[in-house]
């Protein structure tokens, strides 16, 4: 049981870290013009910030300091990663004051994402690439009387880190995201894409994988009433629903198979838009493409009646409505802005779970249970299994076939595969493709609007899309289809 709570703590801490980094450091600069922040009035920025939340680092003096730093940085002429920002783009619509507010929180977020990530590194040994996971438990010895194991000192240090980050998530991040959403309210009408939503239940609260702190399941056609829950790690409805097609992917053949029966034989045949055009396979749930990620997760938790989710969704919609001076309802979530809003909501839900999971771990240790490992036994013969988890980018499932103790087949169906899916066996487009249809471009040479929608999915492609030529010019070309 301890192993389960330790894993849950790592999952939630990692999720909070990942969502903070995604919003502030990977997506915010699509919406926030940091150069415009130079023109802001620090006093007005402070008044605006204080009208929005009780976050304690919103003084005029603080904003003045951030602006000074920004001035020195911009005048140094070495903008580094910021040199490629779309500063002054006609689709950038925030006032200089909102830009300064967001830039200042961008810098503070660097601190908080790091603090919460320390929870992962203390429990996991390091991050990324944690070292403590084992089949049957975790490699964390617990002994309250030993300095070199997980003890009360370490546990209270983790609690301190958790407490430090709460106010930032609740009073800065949730509010900033609501402000961006309100000032870009037109974006609630773009980027809907695929509205079949799939998400995994997560944070098991027992040792059998039948009770979860956070619900998950499937919603068809954006209709919350159609929600079907995924109930356990052995859920037949989930296990039988997943297939992948390679009709449009660079693998040998053309089939639509269950992950246990799949092969992966790469066969690159060049870019053929009507035939094969992607390395990504096309996953489907009962034959349909599905969107995964925080939006899918939040909608499923909302449909399942999860109290925390309902509260944060309500709070966010109320803040957006009051800032935008118009009633914004849950339907607005099916959009590019909705995905960004849902990520902040999920971040707050996960944050609350950190404390719940910490309390559960400490209570269980308090009962005298210090076990963190049950030795697994592999049955002989051929066995098929699946493990799943609601990762920061959505449902992650690993499918394996083990024959006489050896792995015979292993397929990962990962979140970005669902979202970046090419057209499937029925030639239905995946979420990225579908969501870009109908997006207006203010300047086709600078397709900021396309980036906004693709970034809103938090693509796990960071290592695959950067390529720069020897003169420092971008060679990535965006083709408008």
């Amino acid at each position: 049981m301890n192993a389960q709570f330790i894993r849950n703590l790592m999952i939630t801490a990692h999720g909070v870290h990942d969502h903070i980094v995604h919003f502030y450091h990977l997506a915010a600069l699509d919406w926030v013009d940091i150069v415009s922040a130079l023109k802001a009035d620090p006093k007005k920025t402070s008044q605006l910030a204080e009208s929005l939340s009780s976050w304690d680092q919103n003084s005029a003096k603080h904003f003045k300091e951030v602006q000074e730093k920004l001035k020195t940085f911009v005048s140094s002429g070495q903008l580094g990663i910021y040199a490629n920002g779309y500063w002054g783009h006609p689709a950038m619509k925030l006032s200089p004051e909102v830009n300064l507010l967001a830039t200042s929180h961008y810098l503070q977020a660097l601190h908080f994402q790091r603090r919460i990530n320390m929870v992962v590194s203390i429990l996991g040994g390091k991050t990324p690439h944690i070292q403590n996971l084992a089949v049957g438990g975790v490699a964390n010895a617990i002994n309250p009387d030993n300095q070199s194991t997980l003890n009360m000192e370490r546990l209270y240090y983790i609690k301190t880190l958790i407490d430090e980050v709460g106010s930032f998530v609740k009073n800065a991040m949730l509010v900033d995201v609501a402000a961006v959403a309100a000032f870009y309210a037109d974006w609630t009408g773009y980027g809907k894409g695929v509205t079949n939503y799939l998400s995994a239940p997560d944070l098991p609260m027992d040792t059998k994988g039948t009770v979860f702190a956070l619900p998950g399941g499937y919603i068809a056609n954006g209709d919350l009433a159609s929600f079907t829950p995924i109930k356990s790690f052995n859920d037949e409805y989930f296990k039988n629903g997943v297939k992948e097609s390679i009709k449009h992917s660079w693998y040998k053949g053309d089939w639509n198979k269950h992950p246990w029966d799949e092969t992966t034989d790469p066969n690159y045949t060049g870019m053929q838009y009507d035939d094969k055009y992607s390395w990504v396979k096309a996953p489907t749930f009962y034959g349909k493409p599905a969107q995964v990620g925080p939006l899918a997760n939040v909608l499923c938790m909302y449909a399942a009646g999860h109290a925390g989710t309902k509260k944060y969704v309500g709070d966010m919609l109320a803040t957006i409505s009051s800032l935008a001076k118009t009633k914004v309802g849950p339907a607005a979530l099916h959009s590019t802005i909705g995905r960004i809003g849902a990520r902040a909501i999920r971040c707050a839900v996960l944050y609350d779970e950190l404390t719940t999971q910490w309390n559960a771990l400490v209570a269980n240790i308090g009962k005298g249970d210090v076990k963190t490992f049950n030795a697994p036994v592999f049955p002989s013969g051929e066995i098929r299994g699946v493990g799943f988890h609601e990762a920061p980018r959505g449902i992650l499932s690993h499918w394996s076939v083990i024959k006489n103790g050896k792995i015979k087949n292993y397929q990962c169906v990962v979140p970005s595969t669902w979202n970046a899916s090419p057209r499937n066996g029925d030639s239905a487009p995946g979420p990225y493709e579908a969501s870009l249809v109908g997006t207006p471009l203010a300047d086709p040479e600078k397709p900021l609007e396309v980036l906004r929608t693709v970034h809103s999915f938090d693509p796990c492609l960071a290592c695959a899309i950067h390529m720069v030529d020897a003169k420092g010019n971008d060679i990535v070309k965006v083709k408008a289809l």
């Binding site: 980094v21 450091h25 730093k69 920004l70 020195t72 940085f73 140094s76 070495q78 903008l79 580094g80 990663i81 910021y82 040199a83 810098l107 660097l110 790091r114 990530n117 590194s121 991050t127 990324p128 960071a462 290592c463 950067h466 390529m467 720069v468 030529d469 020897a470 003169k471 420092g472």
Partner: protein, 168 residues
Amino acid sequence: MYSIKEPTVTIMGLGNILLMDEGVGVHTVNAFQERYSVPDYVEIIDGGAAGLDLLPFIDGRQKLLMIDAVNFDREPGYIDILENEAIPAKFSTKTSLHHLGLLDVLSIVKLSDTSPKDICIIGIQPKSMELGLDMTPEIWDKVNTLVERMVSKLQEWNVPCALRSPLK
């Protein structure tokens, strides 16, 4: 990580050891650690190909020494040193992925005004960056030279490097 005082100097080997000579930075730092010990205020890191995760090891430090494969458009094994302002200019024209991640972090610490005062990269022209765990012999031959360059740079920074006893 649990030390009472934060380190002030970071030594970081960069690169992906799965891509042959790309991992030269990591191999060099390992060789350095086998031969030399450094004071407590120096932290030695295998930076791998990480991006933003390197931030805690750079943010607020006084000095940062990195060892990495760099494309100088010269013969394999060519070694050169890049310092401070010369780094972003050179790195924004690289094809390697971790350079972009690193450049992100260097930009961020600059914007936050917490950048190390002295940043130095000891770079070497790689020969092969194909898939493979081992480096090419040409680059292995240069590891000693790279370690010597590290020692002289650290001495220039008044960071003592003590030879470890060979009997240990």
